[in-house]
């Protein structure tokens, strides 16, 4: 089999008479016994003989043509644009995209890459915008909560001042319906506000205020002077009016300057 392969490679040279004497004898010996190589030789010889049928293309041109050939070359050297055939731009572009696979693949890849980068950049912009929008919404929410806290402290102050100045007639039960109604509204507001992200000290003050207001709102209509005085003493003891006033002024300044809430805004 090794010998057969070696001979196969030499068959072309054998037909071209390019083998040395010894090699030629070896090939001829092999050909006597190998049908495959014999068929290969016949095939090679058949095609090589057929090449004789091919005409000499240069001979198909006239003598005049060849007389002018060198002159045409010289003209092309002197004027590079003077070509016999000048494919137009459309043909060149067509051949660039349709015929040149490598160029087409490279251009397609570049376009896909540019598209991916473009999409990535747009997404990046969107991702940057989303936190900004979220921050904007958050700022609006914070301003609204601040406004509600300010209102809460203002109303609380008014209520506390009212309670402090309330003069009760001796032996008669005071009419506290309006104050108790306001108290319940403030309790609800306080509970709701403490669910919001507010500063700790405001939340603590609201809780203290709520404790007092809950007690106050539960006072029965026929309350005694003693029970009412206990509430007022508690307000004085906790210094609630002063704290509420300070908190109110802090939130008023806050809403005027529109500065973010700081944890240490409370006195």
């Amino acid at each position: 089999m090794i010998r057969h392969k070696k001979i196969q490679i030499q068959l072309y040279d054998y037909l071209q008479n390019a083998l040395s004497g010894d090699d030629k004898i070896i090939v001829e010996d092999h050909l006597r016994s190998c049908e495959i190589c014999k068929r290969t030789v016949v095939g090679l010889k058949d095609v090589i003989e057929k090449f004789q049928c091919l005409t000499n293309p240069a001979e198909e041109r006239s003598t005049e043509y060849w007389n002018n050939f060198a002159l045409t070359v010289e003209r092309r050297i002197l004027n590079p644009q003077n070509k016999s055939i000048s494919p137009n731009l459309i043909d060149q572009l067509y051949s660039l995209f349709v015929l040149n696979k490598k160029t087409t693949i490279a251009l397609s890849t570049a376009m896909v890459l540019m598209l991916v980068i473009g999409l990535w950049y747009m997404n990046k912009e969107q991702l940057l915008k989303v936190p900004q929008q979220q921050a904007s919404v958050q700022n609006q929410d914070t301003a609204l909560v601040e406004k509600r806290i300010g209102n809460y402290f203002r109303r609380s102050k008014t209520l506390l001042v009212g309670l402090a100045n309330l003069e009760l007639e001796h032996g008669r039960s005071p009419d506290l319906n309006t104050e108790q109604s306001v108290s319940r509204e403030l309790i609800d507001e306080s509970r709701d506000l403490r669910q919001q992200p507010i500063d700790i000290r405001s939340a603590e003050l609201m809780r203290d205020m709520e404790n007092v207001l809950v007690t106050f709102s539960k006072i029965p209509p026929q309350t005694t002077q003693i029970e009412f005085d206990n509430i007022r003493r508690r307000i004085y003891r906790d210094n609630l009016l002063f704290k509420i006033r300070m908190a109110e002024s802090a939130y008023d300044e806050e809403s005027q300057s529109r500065q973010p809430i700081q944890n240490n805004r409370m006195p």
């Binding site: 090679l44 095609v47 057929k50 240069a58 041109r61 070359v73 050297i77 016999s84 055939i85 040149n100």
Partner: protein, 184 residues
């Protein structure tokens, strides 16, 4: 033309002698044309490629160091430009083949002389070979260059040239048989 005379001509061309260049062109124009025609299979394209090759030679002759013979260098330029042209014209050649194939079924083909029929079949089989196999067959058997010179033009060993010749011709044999059957 002796090698020494050719060297003199090349030196004169380098110095800008147009007459010397014309002599070089006249010496090799038919060889260049035949090589180009072998690849492109069309007279107009063969003319353009051959002329363009001489323009390239004129432009680059100062860089020609004489490592190989002048004609080897020229034929390498012709081969490269021809292969470029074939690549550019691939679609039109395919279209042409379709037209030719349809003509073979009309019955007119049988009226054509047998030598003409064989020539067409051989040319068709040749143009369907892979690039390197086609190049070695054209340079060796159409233009009659030696296997050594073909190797120098294509920058490969003589052994490689013979391998491509062997494979290319056997492929052509199969193709020729197929085309003959198709005609019958």
């Amino acid at each position: 033309m002796k090698a020494a005379d050719e060297q003199q001509l090349i030196l004169r061309v380098r110095e800008g002698d147009h007459e010397a260049f014309r002599l070089l062109v006249e010496r090799y124009m038919k060889y260049a044309y035949n090589i180009a025609y072998g690849f492109v299979g069309d007279h107009d394209d063969a003319e353009d490629v051959a002329q363009e090759s001489f323009v390239k030679v004129y432009e680059a002759i100062k860089s020609f160091r004489g490592d190989s013979a002048f004609n080897t260098w020229l034929y390498r330029i012709v081969t490269n430009l021809s292969l470029n042209r074939v690549r550019q014209k691939k679609i039109s050649i395919t279209n042409m083949s379709i037209i030719e194939n349809s003509a073979t079924h009309t019955g007119d083909f049988f009226k054509v002389h047998q030598a003409e029929e064989t020539r067409e079949i051989i040319e068709k089989a040749l143009h369907e070979l892979p690039t390197l196999q086609r190049a070695v067959v054209i340079l060796r058997h159409i233009n009659g260059l030696s296997t050594r010179q073909v190797g120098e033009i294509l920058r490969c060993s003589e052994g490689t040239v013979k391998t491509h010749l062997h494979r290319g011709i056997l492929k052509m044999r199969t193709k020729v048989d197929f085309l003959k059957d198709e005609v019958v």
